[in-house]
């Protein structure tokens, strides 16, 4: 069986047992066999070859300079611009768009010698919680193809869950890394806002978006995060705060840490199986030496409303550039206005149009104060409540999602879909780092444990999640070959 982690593959490369090109070809083969789940939109053929050759040269000629990602294959979400590779944000309106530049996050991975293999499917412009909003078709969950993988980074979660690549990149605006990680039984990390540069990320909601990795082990997540993190002058919201080295903290365990359990996160309509799995995870953390303490985040019920004003408002502004003039899909009409109307009317899918209209409405004259300004104030309250909680505790632990992966088509009502993110989006509003790691099964489907830390304490979040994985085997459990079958061999 092919080793699955970055660490194992890296060791194998260093021993000369395999080559970057071989690993990339094996990943490609594994990804192709996932075609019925549709997690891949396209392959990066030429770039894959070029990067594999570059990594092979580094490993042969200057092995001492080869970092942990050198020669390791990966996949990235279709919202990250890479020079020469079509990037569509899962949208018809960007079909055929080939970026003339490479964004910073992927660029830093390329510099580290990592080898991109595929571009993954996602909800259109990262708007969705099920990956059913992709213009190119939905993605199936490797644990049960009739169910959603979560979203919006559903393809990136699915390819790691299926073992086709050791890691992938996603983006998280309201839970779009953590929720699919939870649904697919892998680790998914959203760093502190501003920690990873957004340069080259097709913007959805600029004050909330962050790029982050998926992998099986937190160890691997930490390696990818470390390669991407740090200030970038090309993103004006990128933080100049120094990145705390993760490896110094990762192995410290949770003994002596105070972990808060937000009361409101344990009451919001949790499925019984989710509650059971998360409660056992909390008990285990306590056994490992952490102190558990109940904390309160009273504005939690207002977070969903806050998010669904701020995110659509920002998206309506960001997506104004999709005008069919400079790139992408274009409907030719004699007048410019008609061309805009037709290009955008036909180019955007229903969820994107819904959010663009919601945002346009919230920003329009006469409604700005009641909606947008009000939401920005509630956002302050939400962030302050987290800050107050972190005066008492070192990190928060809670479920990632109140539910497990649901059947495709089950949540056709937009509001019921939005409710999926109720436990993840407050973290984006407050700009905090958060990770989801698998912590059990509910009726045969993965449950995620979420760890949330104070801003710029990314290393502490990874440390807690890593300590949990050190005592459990949920993250090693592959999806069953047939729906509902099998259980982890811990």
């Amino acid at each position: 069986m092919t080793p699955r982690t970055v660490a194992e593959l890296g060791a194998s490369l260093r021993r000369g047992e395999t080559s970057p090109a071989e690993l990339a070809a094996a990943s490609r083969g594994a990804l192709e066999s996932l075609a019925p789940l549709h997690p891949v939109l396209r392959y990066t053929d030429e770039l894959t070859e070029r990067q594999a050759a570059r990594a092979a040269r580094t490993l042969a000629e200057a092995p001492e300079t080869a970092g942990p990602l050198c020669g390791i294959p990966f996949a990235y979400k279709d919202v990250l611009c890479v020079e020469g590779v079509e990037t569509t944000a899962g949208s018809r309106i960007l079909q055929g768009y080939v970026p003339p530049y490479t964004g910073t996050a992927v660029g830093r991975l390329l510099d580290a010698g990592a080898v991109p293999v595929a571009v993954t499917n996602c909800d259109e412009f990262a708007m969705g919680s099920s990956n059913e909003n992709s213009a190119f078709g939905p993605v199936g969950n490797p644990w049960d193809p009739s169910r959603v993988p979560g979203g919006s980074s559903g393809g990136s979660a699915a390819v790691v869950a299926a073992g086709a690549v050791p890691f992938s990149l996603g983006t998280d605006t309201g839970g779009s890394i953590r929720q699919p990680a939870s649904f697919c039984g892998v680790a998914g990390f959203k760093p502190t806002y501003g920690r990873v540069s957004r340069y080259g990320l097709i913007a959805f909601a600029s004050s909330l978006d962050q790029i982050g990795p998926f992998a099986r082990s937190v160890d691997d997540v930490a390696r990818v995060f470390t390669a991407m993190a740090g200030h970038d002058p090309r993103d004006s919201t990128s933080s100049p705060t120094e990145v705390e080295p993760v490896d110094e903290q990762l192995e410290r365990g949770v003994a002596g840490l105070r972990l808060g359990v937000p009361h409101e996160y344990m009451t919001e309509g949790l499925e019984p199986g989710v509650r059971t799995a998360v409660e056992s995870a909390l008990a285990l953390l306590e056994k490992l030496g952490a102190t558990l303490e109940e904390v309160s985040l009273p504005s939690t019920p207002a977070a969903l409303s806050t998010y669904y004003i701020i995110a659509p408002a920002e998206c309506s502004a960001n997506l104004a550039r999709m005008d069919g003039v400079r790139f992408g899909f274009h409907v030719d009409r004699p007048s410019l206005t008609d061309s805009y109307l037709e290009t955008r009317g036909q180019g955007f899918g229903p969820e994107v149009k819904r959010r663009v209209m919601l945002g346009t409405y919230a920003l329009s004259s006469g409604y700005y104060d009641a909606y947008y300004r009000k939401a920005q104030k509630v956002r302050t309250l939400i962030a302050e409540e987290f800050d107050r909680a972190f005066e008492k505790v070192d990190a928060l632990v809670c479920p990632t999602s109140p539910i497990v992966a649901f059947p495709k088509g089950e949540r056709s009502d937009p509001l019921s879909m939005y409710l999926c993110d109720v436990l993840t989006l407050p973290v984006n509003l407050a700009g905090l780092p958060g990770i989801s790691v698998p912590c059990g099964l509910s009726e045969g489907l993965p449950v995620g444990l979420q760890v949330i830390g104070p801003r710029f304490q990314d290393a502490r979040v990874l440390r807690v999640a890593h300590a949990y994985q050190g005592a459990t085997a949920w993250h090693e459990a592959p999806p069953p070959p047939a729906p509902g079958a099998g259980s982890p061999t811990s």
Partner: protein
């Protein structure tokens, strides 16, 4: 409050989204339901707090006002649906 169809048509025009009559009605219903939910914001007391737009605490990010390298014209125009010489071409703005 109830969203009127005219308001939805106005918003669609502001956002430059060409929608059919059927779409307008569907979005009117959906946006109405979402706004009804979102209206609970009005019950939150925000009298003592300001607005947050930048959560990382950054105020401004400056750089020297110097000429820097930029995309070559050919690269910038490579994705243009319509092009005339070194320009993006669009339809008439006024008839």
């Amino acid at each position: 409050m109830t969203l009127e169809r005219d308001q939805v048509a106005h918003v669609a025009m502001l956002a430059r989204l060409g929608l059919s009559d059927q779409d307008l009605e569907r979005y009117r219903e959906q946006l109405d339901a979402i706004l009804a939910h979102v209206d609970r914001l009005q019950q939150v007391d925000t009298s003592r707090v300001g607005e947050t737009a930048q959560i990382g605490g950054l105020v401004n990010a400056w750089r020297e006002d110097e000429r820097r390298e930029c995309l070559p014209v050919e690269a910038a125009l490579a994705n243009a649906p319509r092009r005339r010489r070194d320009h993006f071409e669009v339809g008439a703005i006024q008839e």
